[in-house]
């Protein structure tokens, strides 16, 4: 099966000229290629999105690593650190987020497993993607509730270092979740227009699972008394 078709998840052929040319692009190959022309952007399998998503994940990891080290140094140096008890709802949110990862996995399975593109399209209109989208929004809503609860307790951004870090970390993470939701919306649009590529779906899924894990890490970071 040609890489392009394999990469495309619907029967509608891509508006791409099929220049099948698949030579090893790895380091240090010295054999001289035979094909008359090089490959164009669209001919790639997988396309750069799969590399890009790792780059994005790496950058986000660095950012949160910096935030973490800041939290540790700040906590060590500070005289005014008061531990705050996390709002219960955070744990519910965690479950929601984990659930969303599961639904996304199911969606991806449904979209990629079945034999031919025809079955895929017939059998599936991406309900599970919508489910994931909904759960994601639910999580953000849940975070909002958590912030409101803290405000009600009189814990604001500047109240004490711990609350500062809580707000900064959770808001930063929520923003990344929203980014992921945009990605999902984009995937759904592609699916409905019948031009969704496996690699795109993979990238979106990879990112979503990453921010999911990121949240679990943050929760533990905020939960433990260092």
């Amino acid at each position: 099966m040609a890489p392009i078709l394999d990469d495309l998840l619907t029967v509608k052929p891509p508006d791409v000229p099929d220049k099948t040319a698949d030579i090893d692009n790895g380091g240090g190959n010295e054999q001289i290629p035979v094909a008359p022309t090089g490959r164009r952007l669209a001919d790639y399998s997988p396309p750069p999105s799969s590399t890009a998503i790792w780059v994005v994940i790496a950058a986000i990891t660095m950012t949160f690593a910096a935030l973490t080290s800041a939290l540790i140094i700040r906590q060590a140096s500070s005289v005014d650190w008061r531990h705050l008890t996390l709002p219960r709802i955070l744990y519910a949110n965690t479950l929601v987020l984990i659930l969303s990862s599961i639904t996304l996995t199911i969606a991806r399975h449904r979209l990629t497993s079945s034999r031919s593109a025809g079955e895929r399209q017939a059998g599936h209109r991406g309900q599970w993607l919508y489910a994931t989208l909904f759960l994601g929004l639910l999580f953000v809503g849940g975070q909002w509730v958590a912030w409101m609860q803290l405000r009600a307790q009189g814990l604001y951004l500047a109240t004490n270092p711990n609350s500062s870090f809580f707000y900064v970390l959770t808001v930063a993470h929520a923003l990344h979740i929203l980014g992921g939701l945009c990605g999902l919306a984009y995937v759904i649009r592609k699916l409905n227009r019948g031009v969704l590529r496996k690699s795109t779906l993979d990238a979106a899924a990879r990112y979503w699972h990453f921010v999911d894990l990121l949240w679990i890490y943050l929760l533990m970071l905020l939960w433990v008394k260092i």
């Binding site: 692009n25 240090g28 952007l41 890009a52 800041a70 005014d80 270092p161």
Partner: protein, 591 residues
């Protein structure tokens, strides 16, 4: 997430906006970055002239100075705060918007996709955002001249708590400070988006036969720089957010308890001032290499073209660049030897700092050694490339001193440091930029620059740079503290004549840059048309159907690569070089 679909039927852009302003074409974006850097460097240079004038002749009224500031120049005499504001802006503009954008973002955007044989970057929309976010960041920074009581005066390193306590700490520490932090935050976002494109272009969009070991040095340099950028800018951004929060939200990330400023006890409590220094320098030291590694790549590329032979070892140069990049994250503590850090960790940081001189030395030896028995071709580009080596050596040796905490006791925060980083980071990188400009100008604008003017420009700049920055080392050893707006200490009085000499040298060298500007803009529009491959260079940017290349770089068919990037000193049908894209096979490929 953008996808390859965004560009895969790469139609020529139509409409003025898409063509020239919000263009998705990496070449246009590259030019935009270059012009931004040019504007920035002109502003930064003018600021440095004002500072030098003030240092040489304090209380000298500079005509028209009061137009730049509300209260910073009563009667055109520069006030201490205005001097520091100029200094901060000079540093910030030069480090971020010149040394990072020109060699990395500008040349990288333009030539990385062409040199790997791609028709564009994979995510053109991100690429466009990358430039415009950076541009907005620049405007935000400049705008601080207009608002409130001017830009921040805390220096480009923005040490907390001076940068974090707010307006009470001095002029510009209120709004000006917030603008600075926002601007740099935006800049980080812009560069992260850029790195995203650079990395995936290098890994995924190489054309047929363009194996990793066939990439030009420049591509490697930009790729390594992007990877460093990921780490560095992703760490600086949260630091800037903390800084902004300390200002606008009343948090205390960087402000400790019990600070008393102007007899007022500050409300903040519990923050850590060293936290800022750690976050900043974790970005700050890699940033130095983000500025210099692209220049190294450009120099290596232009050097091997102009000595008509490959450098002694491709792999060694790559290895050294990678080693520099990795080590640069382990040495940042040498900026904090006397800053109250644990003296043991000072030593721990000093050893990698000393070791980092080894890969640097190796590169220099390879460059110089490659000259042996070669055929050096003298032109503006090669002069600046050779000048880069000289500057890099001169600036590098002073690293031996600053790497040692014991000597740093004498030299920390003196003009010795200023001389060191200006030579090794600023001047060397600028030489790389000049070399790249003279070398790639024909490709970027389809016209040749004036060689004679180029050479005159080189001579004045080369000699001038030494006249400016070598004396910095001497007065630094004599204990001349940096960031002083006037030298009121008794032991600094005898050094003022040296400062006057430096000022004159700086003004003349600055004036010499006008030659370059004239040459650049005149040739851009009226220069004589460039031949297809004026430098007889092998890499792919010289295999494009036209100069400047068409919107999709190579027309309908992307090139196929048959050779590594540096087939010089060979006997081929074309002469002493063999294009990467030419199928011709040599009986015994000389290496």
């Amino acid at each position: 997430m953008a996808t390859p679909h965004a560009v895969h039927h790469h139609a020529p852009p139509s409409g003025f906006l898409r063509k020239y302003v919000f263009s998705l074409d990496h070449k246009v974006i590259g030019k935009q970055y270059y012009d931004l850097a040019l504007l920035a460097v002109i502003i930064g240079m003018i600021l440095s002239w004002l500072m030098r004038l003030h240092l040489g002749w304090t209380n000298f009224a500079i005509p028209g100075l009061h137009f730049l500031t509300k209260s910073g120049a009563p009667g055109n005499i520069m006030t201490p705060e205005f001097y520091l504001q100029l200094m901060t802006m000079h540093g910030t503009i030069m480090v971020f918007f010149v040394l990072t954008t020109a060699p990395f973002a500008a040349f990288g955007n333009y030539f990385l996709p062409i040199q790997v044989g791609a028709e564009d970057m994979p995510f053109p929309h991100f690429n466009m955002m990358s430039f415009w976010v950076t541009c907005v960041g620049f405007l935000v920074l400049i705008s601080s001249f207009v608002f409130s009581d001017g830009p921040t005066l805390a220096g480009w390193t923005q040490y907390a708590p001076l940068s974090a306590v707010g307006a009470v700490a001095g002029p510009g520490q209120g709004l000006g400070e917030v603008l600075w932090a926002s601007s740099i935050g935006l800049f980080c976002i812009g560069q992260l988006l850029g790195s995203l494109n650079f990395i995936s272009t290098t890994l995924d969009l190489r054309t047929k036969g363009m194996s990793l070991m066939r990439l030009p040095y420049t591509v490697w340099a930009w790729f390594i720089t992007s990877c460093m950028g990921l780490g560095a800018f992703a760490v600086l951004m949260p630091a800037c957010i903390f800084l902004i929060l300390d200002h606008v939200a009343g948090t205390s990330f960087f402000v400790p308890s019990n600070l008393v400023i102007n007899d007022q006890l500050q409300p903040h409590a519990g923050g850590s001032t060293l936290l800022w220094q750690h976050l900043f320098w974790f970005f700050g030291h890699p940033e130095v290499y983000i500025a210099i590694i692209p220049a190294m790549g450009i120099t290596s590329h232009i050097l091997s073209n102009n000595i008509r032979r490959p450098l002694l070892s491709y792999k060694v140069i790559l290895g050294s660049m990678v080693t520099l990049a990795l080590l640069s994250y382990m040495v940042y503590g040498h900026h904090m030897f006397v800053s109250g850090m644990n003296p043991v960790s000072s030593l721990a940081f000093s050893f990698p700092t000393l070791i980092i001189t080894i890969p640097a030395t190796i590169m220099v030896l390879i460059w110089i050694g490659s000259l042996y028995g070669s055929k050096i071709r003298i032109n503006s580009a090669s002069l600046f490339a050779l000048g880069f080596i000289s500057m890099f050596v001169s600036g590098g040796v002073s690293g031996f001193f600053l790497a040692q905490p014991s000597i740093d006791i004498m030299l920390h925060a003196t003009y010795f440091v200023v001389g060191h980083f200006h030579l090794v980071m600023a001047v060397a990188a600028i030489f790389g930029i000049f070399a790249g400009t003279y070398f790639w100008f024909p490709k970027m604008f389809g016209r040749m620059m004036n060689e004679t003017l180029g050479k005159i420009h080189f001579w004045l700049t080369f000699v001038g740079a030494y006249c400016i920055f070598m004396p910095f080392h001497y007065i630094g050893i004599a204990g001349n503290v940096r960031r002083y707006q006037a030298f009121v200490d008794d032991y600094l009085q005898p050094l003022i004549p040296v400062h006057r000499f430096i000022t004159v040298a700086a003004l003349l060298t600055g004036a010499a840059q006008l030659i370059f500007l004239y040459n650049f803009f005149h040739s851009r529009f009226w220069g004589k048309p460039a031949p297809a491959n004026p430098w007889e260079c092998t890499s792919l940017e010289w295999s494009t159907p036209s100069s400047p290349p068409p919107f999709d770089n190579f027309g309908p068919n992307l090139p196929v690569v048959y050779h590594d990037a540096y087939q010089y000193g060979v006997q081929s049908s074309t002469g002493d070089y063999l294009m990467q894209a030419s199928p011709e096979q040599l009986p015994a490929a000389k290496q």
